[in-house]
Symmetry: none
Subunit: 228 residues, 4 copies
Amino acid sequence: MTTDFSASPGEPPLRADARRNRDQIIGAAKSLFTSDGPEVPMEEIARSAGVGVGTLYRRFPDRESLIRAVARDNFANTLAQAEAAAVEEPTGWDSLVRLLKSSDELQLSVHLGMSSPRAWEIVKGDEITQRLRNSLLATLDSVVATAQAEGSLRADVGAGDIAAIFAMLLRRPGPDHPDSQRLAERALQVMLDGLRTPGRPGAGLPGEPISVSEIPLLKRDKRPARDG
Amino acid sequence: MTTDFSASPGEPPLRADARRNRDQIIGAAKSLFTSDGPEVPMEEIARSAGVGVGTLYRRFPDRESLIRAVARDNFANTLAQAEAAAVEEPTGWDSLVRLLKSSDELQLSVHLGMSSPRAWEIVKGDEITQRLRNSLLATLDSVVATAQAEGSLRADVGAGDIAAIFAMLLRRPGPDHPDSQRLAERALQVMLDGLRTPGRPGAGLPGEPISVSEIPLLKRDKRPARDG
Amino acid sequence: MTTDFSASPGEPPLRADARRNRDQIIGAAKSLFTSDGPEVPMEEIARSAGVGVGTLYRRFPDRESLIRAVARDNFANTLAQAEAAAVEEPTGWDSLVRLLKSSDELQLSVHLGMSSPRAWEIVKGDEITQRLRNSLLATLDSVVATAQAEGSLRADVGAGDIAAIFAMLLRRPGPDHPDSQRLAERALQVMLDGLRTPGRPGAGLPGEPISVSEIPLLKRDKRPARDG
Amino acid sequence: MTTDFSASPGEPPLRADARRNRDQIIGAAKSLFTSDGPEVPMEEIARSAGVGVGTLYRRFPDRESLIRAVARDNFANTLAQAEAAAVEEPTGWDSLVRLLKSSDELQLSVHLGMSSPRAWEIVKGDEITQRLRNSLLATLDSVVATAQAEGSLRADVGAGDIAAIFAMLLRRPGPDHPDSQRLAERALQVMLDGLRTPGRPGAGLPGEPISVSEIPLLKRDKRPARDG
DNA sequence: GATGAATGAGGCTTCATTCAT
DNA sequence: CATGAATGAAGCCTCATTCAT
């Protein structure tokens, strides 16, 4: 279920079928943007959503518009998760950890989206996304303050640092690493240990160390690779 | 100066002017891949290199070929830097830190390049890049071993973990953050503190904390942003 | 009020609201065909008529059908005016003049419509329009004969000549001439003087001569106009 | 042979083959604009010119650009003809007549072009076309003055009137009239008689009167014509 | 009946690649 | 060899028309 951020609140709500289509399109776009970047052919998105191109274009007059909608959707979801984390966890530190761990589907695609200059330009210009983003940062800010007040988070970082680290961690090492899950968790734990107030014991890393030989050694492909 | 990784070692070395062209093309491609992604029009690359498309295509029969050449160039440079870091620094830890800090121009463009699924597919299939990569990992492996032996690097990480973290840190937070340099340095320091053997004191973070308000709050543009 | 030229005379007359819709659509189409040519999007016509596309298509199964209906409507109106002119004016010459002056709204849109090859093909194929056209020509024929019999119209022209001249005069000089009304009137007067039986005094032209400087000298726009 | 009105005079002249292509494209466009209006598919123009679409677009980056080029070409040709008529004929009246008769291929397509609002907008914005147009009007102005000074042209018309009449006469009665040549000539003669200084004898009309029955009665086409 | 959503063919334009000069 | 022209496949987007609500 996606949120409809139409510009004009006065417009009538979408008809049931139109609504369903809209959601399918956003879902398909999210998924394809994540896997193939924000330049996937519109037709592919439409096909993957099970609609015709025309329908896609009726709903989103151009690619920018679709990218904006996906960004809004993702930020809204993330904001909801962040607020839940802030409220439901017993300590600031726990909120922070949950926050850094949670936003799986969400930030993933947000940030993959953001890694394209094209997408970034578009999102920058969208006021609604900016509002969501600001709320998200505000939530993060209060979690950081809480965690620092309780003495668990080192005092010399700001919410901006956390956000930046956050953004970095959300880039997966490579789209197709065989065990990217474990890898990401371990990296996150290292980072959390680095964020602990000095002197406080950090946690051990989950799983076994990743050896060099586990980094994917890439299969040859058949082309002669005749290069310059 | 770039290295020529032509497939056939028997071929005569390029004439001086041809060589110059090749270098200019790779330079232009590196720069444009970094700023605009690996899908920039070939003509634009040619223009920026000061040659005609024809020349570009004589040197690199297609885009893949050019991407491969850029990747090889970058990995070769990185490998050289890594080897220097391994040899020239007094301790394993110092080597590691230098490694993580050094590969500025280099990995930057490698990884930005790699952030495109398209580019990744191509590089995966290139044996020479893989060889360079493996050498790079081998070097990293020995640096990690040394640092662990000397007790500075926590024992429960492997070179693979470091490589993955490395990859993460190389993604800049956003194309146009006003102070992305400071941001990256601070994030790196947090990560290094997390990598320290527990109990050993880490370093303080450089500069002031980054507050939420420093995250770029994006200027509105005027379009009505009529979306779905 | 438009005339309904449905093919099947047996059909019941339209309900009042349906009738209203039909008239609004034809009115909107006439107006848009005149200003934007006969290729305006159907949706725009529908919107301008205050109905949904569906309604438009229920009434006119395709664009051809709508163009036909507009043509019929225009020809019918013109025919009525021509017959009135033939009957109500004291002399043949007066009838002719009135005819040439009258068909303002009517022929205007007919002929603008006809300036499109597409529209012309369609109207050519429509029997009803042809019947109307033939009646119109017959009326013209009798007016011409009368005027020649009374000695006012030169003897060496036929109704066909008049029709052709008529058609020419109906094209406005340019969509946006500031004083196209005066221009058209003066041109008409010149033509009437040419049609007078030689020796009979013609009328002076209305208004002042149009100088070259009155022809719209078009404002520059800023684009560099990079052409081949 | 067309004239190259490239914006930047510093550019090198086109290569022989490119030049040939350019001319073929303009020729094809002129012809197709004339027969089908200025919205003919670009592919059709390219095909008719014997080149690929890509070539067309290399030469003319978009449709506007092509329309501009055609307009420039036409105005340049017309201007040349007008200047010849002004200089080579013994009297002002003769110049005027030749002018009104000459511009066959030329004005035809110019004005058909102009009958489309789209094309008009484009041409309005093109400075070069405007310059050509102004020269043309200046030439016309002097011809008119000469003819009035010699007493052949009625004194109460201005060059602007002539231009407007000119424009009207250039619209052919219908694209496919069987004898549109005769028709146009006779209409022109009527107009010339109307332009004569009163009292001076005009010429008789060429050929026989055009009767109503010669106006094309349009063949039925087979569709049932089920309309609203 | 009326409405507006969905469809998909078709036109526009870009750009990777090939080829003549 | 270098250059830049030519080609055409492929992506974007618009609209005529059909169909579910």
